[in-house]
């Protein structure tokens, strides 16, 4: 097989059709956008089912679709382990966060965290960590777009890839500016439906080739893999040494606790009218995401059986190309075109969701509440949010171009680790611990943020991994230097407990005691919805 599989013209046509259809819907949906609530939350008018589908669309990023299929194809069981972490994490969101957050907040994560604290320091901290997580996640998606096009669209070379990243960025800015949250949500819904339908089709195709038996697929995968039966058992990737084992535990922690701290996921809970709908949306999201990861198990082993690990590794996208190559193997040019368009749409939908979250956090938290101390009209706030969206889009384009050769999984893991360390402890404390104070919140957020980023900076991901046999480059980010002293790739094992500890320590040493009246108010509001933000648009 040559460097690009299938026909770039077909891939491009299907993708342009997707852009045209979604753009039409975004423009239609945006005609009723007026207030800040419309722009940030789509008027809180989405149903649980719609929002749940959009959450699935937001969450199943290119890293999960392409990354996990590839990981299962190459490392078998250990790739499957990874996907389970992504799914189980949703229980944290369902049981602890979604409904309470919907009732308490207005537009952003900081609304909840600052509810009973002194506004400015807590909002500032929450906004900084929101922006940091969004930025790392955005970089990962943009970098992924660059890699993907080289495989799918036949665009090669530095200039071509950079240009594609710029096109993705500009499209995303247009979606966000024109459509606001409502338009973005529709893009995510359409994309989720296409992605899951495509994955379902491929899954049944693969199964039908092996007599509808998962066992047969796995058997064929093991026969076709250099790992043999080891492909089916744990240990191919994380079982090498005690260090990799501990590293995997650390990664698991970041995945499970990070999901409920991802700001773009949290913000989606504000798009529904009541906490009951928020609950329903998590149920939808869990069902769709669970289904998708079951498909990806079949697809991963199917790719190992039908395409083979050597072909996948040799393809331009490496492990990320497993799913597209499998599509080509099954349905030829047309199915590949469809799957590539879906993969590209995936990136587009996720970056749009991230951009709107980051711009909302900047406009609502930093500009309106910290700089202007709440004395600002909503019109002005939305105008700032739009400007911020353009600025964030441009930063993401430049960052994506610079980061296009970086390891995508590393950037995503970084985002999850920061979310799990800086956001989740503070969210849980402020919802459930009466004596949590402003100092506790600020220490916990900054502590989690700084410790996770510092540990990653001095981890083997950034420098000092030995060059593996047969490769010319070290898997680390920087070549030829070694300043790593933290042994794990993922900082979660240290930084998450540290953030919890700091939140507690900050609270008990705070000279200002917690406002128990405010806590009682928050508790009633979060549990019953009394005084919660209402939908602004009728169904």
């Amino acid at each position: 097989m040559n460097a690009t599989a299938g026909s770039p013209a077909v891939n491009m046509t299907i993708f342009l059709a997707f852009v045209a259809v979604t753009m039409f819907i975004v423009i239609r949906a945006s005609r009723t956008n007026r207030t800040a609530s419309d722009y940030y939350t789509g008027g809180r008018s989405f149903s649980g089912g719609q929002n749940g589908t959009a959450i699935a669309g937001d969450y199943l990023s290119a890293a999960s679709f392409l990354g996990i299929t590839g990981a299962i194809a190459l490392t078998g069981f250990d790739g499957f382990l990874y996907s389970i972490g992504f799914l189980v994490a949703w229980l944290v969101a369902l049981l602890l966060v979604a409904e309470l957050l919907r009732n308490t907040g207005k537009f952003t994560m900081a609304d909840v965290l600052a509810f009973r604290m002194r506004q400015r320091p807590v909002r500032m901290a929450a906004a900084i960590s929101t922006l940091a997580v969004s930025f790392f996640y955005l970089l990962a998606q943009m970098a992924g777009a660059g890699g993907l096009v080289s495989l799918l669209m036949g665009v090669t070379g530095n200039v071509g890839q950079s240009l594609t990243i710029a096109v993705v960025g500009i499209l995303m800015i247009v979606y966000v500016l024109v459509g606001g949250m409502k338009g973005t949500t529709w893009v995510q819904i359409i994309k989720a439906v296409l992605l899951i339908a495509g994955a379902a089709l491929m899954t049944f195709w693969v199964l039908s080739k092996f007599g509808m038996s998962l066992s047969n697929v796995m058997g064929a995968a093991a026969d076709n893999s250099a790992l043999g039966d080891k492909l089916l058992a744990p240990g191919a990737k994380y079982g090498l040494s005690t260090l990799t084992k501990v590293d995997f535990i650390s990664l698991s922690m970041a995945l499970v606790l990070g999901t409920a701290g991802l700001p773009h996921v949290l913000m989606r809970f504000y798009t529904v009218p009541t906490s009951k709908e928020a609950r329903k949306s998590v149920v939808w999201a869990i069902s769709l995401i669970g289904l998708f990861y079951l498909f990806s198990l079949v697809l991963g082993f199917g790719a190992a059986a039908l395409v083979g690990a050597d072909v996948i590794k040799a393809a331009p996208g490496g492990a990320n190309s497993a799913a597209p190559l499998l599509a080509y193997e099954l349905g030829g040019t047309l199915l590949l075109g469809f799957i590539s368009a879906v993969a590209f749409a995936t990136i587009l939908a996720v970056v749009a969701g991230l951009t709107i979250t980051a711009s909302a956090s900047f406009a609502h938290d930093v500009y309106a509440n910290v700089i202007k101390r709440g004395k600002v009209s909503t019109d002005q706030e939305v105008r700032v949010a739009r400007i911020a969206a353009v600025a964030i889009g441009l930063v993401a384009i430049v960052g994506g171009i610079l980061a296009k050769d970086q390891n995508i999984a590393f950037l995503v893991a970084l985002a999850f680790a920061v979310a799990a360390s800086a956001n989740l402890p503070t969210i849980l404390y402020s919802l459930f611990w009466k004596r949590f104070t402003t100092r506790g919140a600020v220490w916990s957020i900054y502590g989690g943020l700084i410790s996770s980023i510092t540990l990653i900076l001095f981890s083997p991901v950034v420098s000092g991994k030995p060059i593996p046999e047969g490769a010319t480059k070290s898997p680390s980010m920087l070549q030829g230097v070694d300043f790593s002293w933290f042994p794990l790739d993922n900082p979660g094992l240290v930084s998450i407990p540290l953030a919890f500890l700091l939140g507690w320590l900050g609270s008990i040493t705070d000279p200002n005691k917690a406002d128990t009246m405010k806590y009682a108010e928050m508790e009633v509001r979060s549990l019953t919805g009394a005084g919660a933000e209402k939908a602004t648009v009728a169904h």
Binding site: I84, G85, S213, F248, I249, S252, V283, G290, L527, T528
Partner: protein, 75 residues
């Protein structure tokens, strides 16, 4: 329930990491204990979701509505 599923999930992770030989035992065809254990994670996630939603719809919602109407009615 949160604690229960976290324990259950980390039991799976630890088993995969520290007892790979046990996990690799086949139970039928090419399906081994690890895959069964992993698929059970999907089942348990579904089950917990269902239990919680049933509890919330039947018990929590009526209570919450009652309190909210009390509060908002007097305003």
């Amino acid at each position: 329930m949160t604690v229960a599923f976290l324990v259950w999930y980390f039991a799976f992770v630890l088993a995969a990491v520290f007892a790979p030989a046990w996990m690799a035992q086949p139970v039928g065809g090419n399906i081994n204990r690890g895959i069964v254990f992993g698929l059970l994670q999907f089942v348990s996630t579904g089950l917990i979701t269902w239990l919680y939603v049933r509890h919330a719809n039947n018990k929590l919602d009526p209570l919450a509505t009652e309190i909210r109407e009390d509060l908002e009615g007097t305003r």
